[in-house]
């Protein structure tokens, strides 16, 4: 899980450069105003690059928080 969180944090740093790293773990579409549908696509593409896997958008449907994304990635 540590590895997934670290990699995911790197994606967040690029997708949301204004966000303080201490806020990553609690970040979601509810509390990050920049996190819109375009940012979600960018984030998922960065995850694809960082984790070296092809992203299936349907698998990540509803994964709109750091925690939820980490859980999907952990399962994979």
């Amino acid at each position: 899980m540590v590895n997934v969180n670290d990699k995911l944090s790197r994606c967040f740093a690029l997708a949301f450069p204004e966000l303080d790293p201490s806020q990553y773990s609690t970040a979601s579409t509810e509390n990050v105003s920049e996190w819109d549908s375009i940012a979600q696509l960018t984030l998922l593409t960065l995850i694809g690059e960082e984790f070296g896997r092809e992203i299936d958008f349907e698998e990540f449907e509803g994964a709109t928080s750091f925690k939820a994304l980490a859980e999907v990635l952990q399962v994979q």
């Binding site: 960018t42 960065l46 690059e49």
Partner: protein, 573 residues
């Protein structure tokens, strides 16, 4: 470039200078936008680039809506010409609809043509034609081209040919794209259907890079210094003699012929070509007279053939050309020679010629084209070599710094012309380093905006003497406010030094404007030493730090040397 790298580049971007570029497309720009911004940042360090987009599905409206900007990149896909040619539409590909699609595409191309030409009046435009294939819309197997596809391609080719003929529009090279982005790895169908973004990341990256290069080409380098043995020709001249060296298919040395043709073509577009060879000078002279040589002797200057070290020969060539080392490429088959020159002249870019690898030679020729290619060949490009030869000959007749008498005997003529729409003025301002008032570079849009300022003036200065013409070698520009002239653009080609043209330019500006004072917006740079030396004539202690330098006509005339040019005035102010 990966998307993560592009975002990292954007994270570090910033600067006082702002730049606005339009990305005109009918799909969601998404990652293409990110990559374009990243490549703009790399192309213009210290500049904040903003990318203006438009509405999804409305390429035509987006082109019409583009107003102020430094440039525009229009990315066209087949679905922009008719939605039925994309995968997000479901109107069917029945036989009877195909004729209608062709008709619609033709009409759309006509409208886009008009809008793009109008846009190009305001800013430079790079146009990328469809880089994705047509959908499988006919009954034919994929291996057989269908009539509809052929008709659509003919319409597209006609459209591209028509817009390419208009100044301000540049076509993104499909061949260049094809060489680095395979056609079967461009379309991301999943992303296209999910988000309306049709490209794979790798294709978006390549398309962005090539489009930015097309819109804002890097300033071309100016000179190539080439080795001879095993580079310009096959064989060691000293061993095999003049008739033993070769560059032909029969002699299995065609790679050298390819290289010679490339050099001749570059020389024809104004690139300087010189030779640095460890060889017997007499043998070299004889070899260069061979009538089958594809690079003409008249296209080469100077020829440095001796047994001395290469870097010394390179130094003498740089001196003869009077250009900076970073404008020069040195080609040699020997890694040792490349390293020796690199140590003495780190600015000179060394490229290795690999005589036994024809593919590497073709690649080298492409690399040269990338470094020396230019959108337009001007009269000055053709004059450059001639004037450098003439200068060398003139200086041999005299000392390094010509005397006033010598200038009188040279029958020097200076012509000043209004230059608002002269592409040569824009080119000179953006490539001149040594005699440059402040080192400021401009985009085409910024350049046009300068000319629209109230009281704006801009003149080119041409020079000619009995040794031949130099062409347009200086630009002076700024604006007039009340009885003052503010000069914020002033450059002169290094080929024109030592002819007192800079003094004559100022005298003419005073005369033409009637100004009681000229204020120069000066900024010292690492490379504008010659300009600073000139200012030392008029300002105690030299030009000093960045700021406005004031010169009054009486002070100018008191300190100006006697000038003997014949002045031809075609400058209206």
């Amino acid at each position: 470039m990966r998307l993560g790298e592009a975002l990292q580049i954007l994270g570090r971007a910033g600067g006082e200078r702002k730049m606005r570029v339009h990305l005109l497309c009918g799909f969601m720009p998404l990652h293409l936008e990110t990559f374009i911004k990243a490549y703009l940042t790399l192309r213009f360090p210290g500049t904040s680039s903003s990318l203006a987009g438009g509405l999804y599905g409305d390429l035509e409206g987006n082109i019409q809506g583009a107003r102020e900007g430094d440039g525009a990149i229009a990315v066209i896909e087949w679905s922009d010409l008719d939605q039925r040619l994309g995968f997000r539409a479901s109107a069917g590909w029945q036989r009877e609809t195909l004729d209608d699609i062709v008709t619609q595409v033709e009409e759309k191309c006509r409208r886009l043509e008009a809008h793009l030409i109008e846009l190009a009046q305001k800013m430079p435009v790079a146009v990328a034609s469809p880089s994705l294939g047509l959908p499988p819309m006919t009954h034919l197997p994929p291996s057989q081209a269908n009539d509809c596809e052929v008709r659509l391609n003919v319409i597209l080719a006609g459209f591209l040919q028509r817009i390419a003929g208009h100044g301000g529009i540049r076509l993104v090279s499909g061949s260049k794209l094809a060489s680095i982005s395979p056609s079967n790895a461009r379309h991301d169908v999943k992303m296209d259907l999910h988000a309306g973004f049709p490209y794979t990341l790798s294709h978006a990256d390549v398309l962005a890079e090539v489009s930015v290069q097309c819109l804002f080409p890097a300033p071309p380098k100016k000179g190539i210094i080439t080795d001879l043995d095993q580079t310009l020709w096959k064989g060691i001249l000293g061993d095999v003699g003049v008739e033993g060296i070769s560059w032909s298919l029969e002699d299995k040395s065609q790679g050298h012929a390819i290289y010679q043709q490339a050099l001749a073509s570059l020389a024809d577009s104004g690139v300087l070509v010189a030779i640095a060879s460890k060889n017997d000078p007499k043998l070299v002279e004889a070899a260069l007279q061979r009538p089958d040589l594809l690079l003409l002797p008249s296209q080469i200057f100077p020829v440095e053939a001796s047994w001395g070290v290469k870097s010394e020969a390179v130094g003498r060539i740089l001196e003869a050309w009077n250009i900076g080392a970073d404008s020069v490429v040195f080609v040699d088959d020997s890694q040792m020679e490349l390293a020796e020159v690199a140590e003495k002249y780190p600015g000179v870019e060394g490229l290795r010629f690999q005589p036994d690898d024809p593919a590497a030679i073709v690649d080298l020729v492409w690399q040269l084209r990338a470094r020396f290619g230019k959108s337009e060949v001007l009269e000055e490009d053709r004059l450059r070599l001639k004037s450098i030869r003439a200068s060398a000959s003139a200086l041999r007749e005299n000392t390094v710094e010509p005397s006033a008498d010598f200038l009188v005997r040279s029958e020097a003529k200076v012509t000043l012309e209004t230059a608002s729409a002269d592409p040569r003025a824009f080119e000179l301002v953006n490539k001149t380093n040594q005699f440059n008032l402040n080192g400021v570079r401009y985009t085409e849009a910024e350049w046009k905006a300068l000319a629209r300022r109230p009281g704006a003036f801009l003149a080119t200065v041409s020079y000619e003497d009995r040794f031949g013409p130099l062409g347009r070698i200086a630009v002076i520009g700024g604006y007039r406010e009340k009885d003052r002239c503010y000069v914020d653009t002033w450059v002169m080609s290094c080929r024109a030094f030592s002819r007192q043209i800079e003094f004559q330019s100022i005298r003419q500006l005073f005369a033409k404007s009637g100004a009681s004072e000229i204020r120069f917006r000066f900024k010292p740079t690492d490379r504008n030493g010659p300009l600073q030396t000139f200012f030392a004539h008029f300002f105690n202690g030299g030009a000093g730090a960045e700021g406005e330098l004031q010169l009054r006509p009486d002070d100018f005339e008191r300190l100006c040397p006697s000038l003997s040019h014949q002045v031809n005035d075609k400058w209206s102010m």
